[in-house]
Every structure is written in C-alpha cells, then in structure tokens.
Symmetry: C2
Subunit: 122 residues, 2 copies
C-alpha cells in the first residue's frame, strides 16, 4: 500500500528536545511545514519573499512587530506577511507549527545566533 499516511504532530514533537530549531515534517506546494519548540527570545528579522504561518499547538507565544504585538495561545494562527519585521518570544516553552517557503532560513534576511542554515527532518 503506497497511499499517503498521516503524520502525528505529537509523535514528532516528542522527538524534539531543543529550542528554536525547526524540523521539517512535510512539504506542501513548495512550502515546508515545520515543527518548533520555542522558549525565550528570538531575533528580529523578516522574510522578504515568503509569508510565514504560525499555529500554536501548545502553550503561549508572542510576536513583536514594529507597530504592535500579537499574543498567541493554543489553537491561534497568525500569518506574518512577507517583508514584515517580527520577533517571536515565549515566556515558557511553546510548541508551534510553522509554514515557510522551502529552504527559507529561520531568521530570514537577518542572520543571528539563532540562524539554522540547514533544517533537519523530524
């Protein structure tokens, strides 16, 4: 049987023990679905050529924008439009599903100590 099979996000998350290191779980129309555990501060950046989707699976996080802030809880979804500067934060560990264009660096146009040049598959 070669039918596509489901991916359990819980199982994949169980295999992730570090923070700010997204793992690729699937591809969709040239984009990557990525699972990440967040805690603490990320760095300011933007993605000039791709929107970026955040869906919080567990916990809470915050996305700072130059003109405001968005507070996300479990089951909240936010799309950061391409080119919009943002900075994710989480006071305590938070689990999120991200979607980015294939190969897009996690820190977009602004390399930092958080940059992961090559993402692993979950």
């Amino acid at each position: 049987m070669s039918a596509p099979q489901p991916i359990s996000l819980a199982d994949k998350l169980a295999g992730i023990s570090d923070h700010w290191n997204p793992r690729i779980v699937a591809g969709y129309n040239g984009n990557e679905l990525r699972l990440v555990k967040l805690a603490g501060d990320f760095t300011w950046h933007s993605h000039p050529d791709t929107d970026e989707l955040f869906l919080v699976l567990k916990g809470q996080m915050r996305i700072l924008f130059r003109d405001g802030v968005a507070e996300l809880g479990e089951g909240d979804l936010l799309v950061v439009p391409r080119g919009v500067e943002h900075c994710p934060q989480a006071d305590a560990e938070c689990h999120a599903l991200l979607i980015d264009r294939e190969g897009e660096p996690n820190t977009g146009d602004t390399p930092s100590h958080r940059t992961r040049t090559t993402l692993e598959r979950a």
Copy 2:
C-alpha cells in the same frame, strides 16, 4: 496599531454549523487556510494543480485512496499530493484545517453535490 493579529480557530469553528462547507480563515503565499466540519461521506476527486493539506483539530476522519486508506486522529496531518484521487469520510463530526491553492474548488476536478463554487470567509 496595525500589527497582524491572531485568529482563534476555536472561535471560527464555533461559527460553523454545517458540514463539507469550508470557510476561508487566512491566506498564505497564494494558498487559503480553510476550516471545515466533516461528517459522513464526501466524493472522489483530485486536485490536479495543488497539493491539499489536512490537519485534524478534533475528532477522527479517514481519507480513502485508490490504493489504500489513511486514518487521521486529532493532531494528525496529511498532505494529499496534487493529482492523487482521494475521498474524505468521517463517521462522526470531525473538525479540520485545510490548505488549498487560492480559489481551488473543494471537489477539485470532479464536481458533485458537495461542490461549493464560492467559499465564504469564516
């Protein structure tokens, strides 16, 4: 303040009372995030020009393929590759987040009594 704000999937789902009628909740890179409540049988179809993502938010569903079947529970994700025939089913009401290319009919290349020509926004 014009910063992007989160969308609560639970709040949007609370406003949906019918089945097999996806509502658009957000856009991402030319694709649409859609919320849908499923119950019973859909119809066989494929999407020749777009992958289709299913993420189960509540309940259970099944996707029939010509060469097998996938059973999805809460937190399970599956990408149906473009061109692959499939038929979703749910024995009891199930809530799912879908991603399809903008404007893609819910029944893809095979119009049926389930076809929704214009999707509403949630």
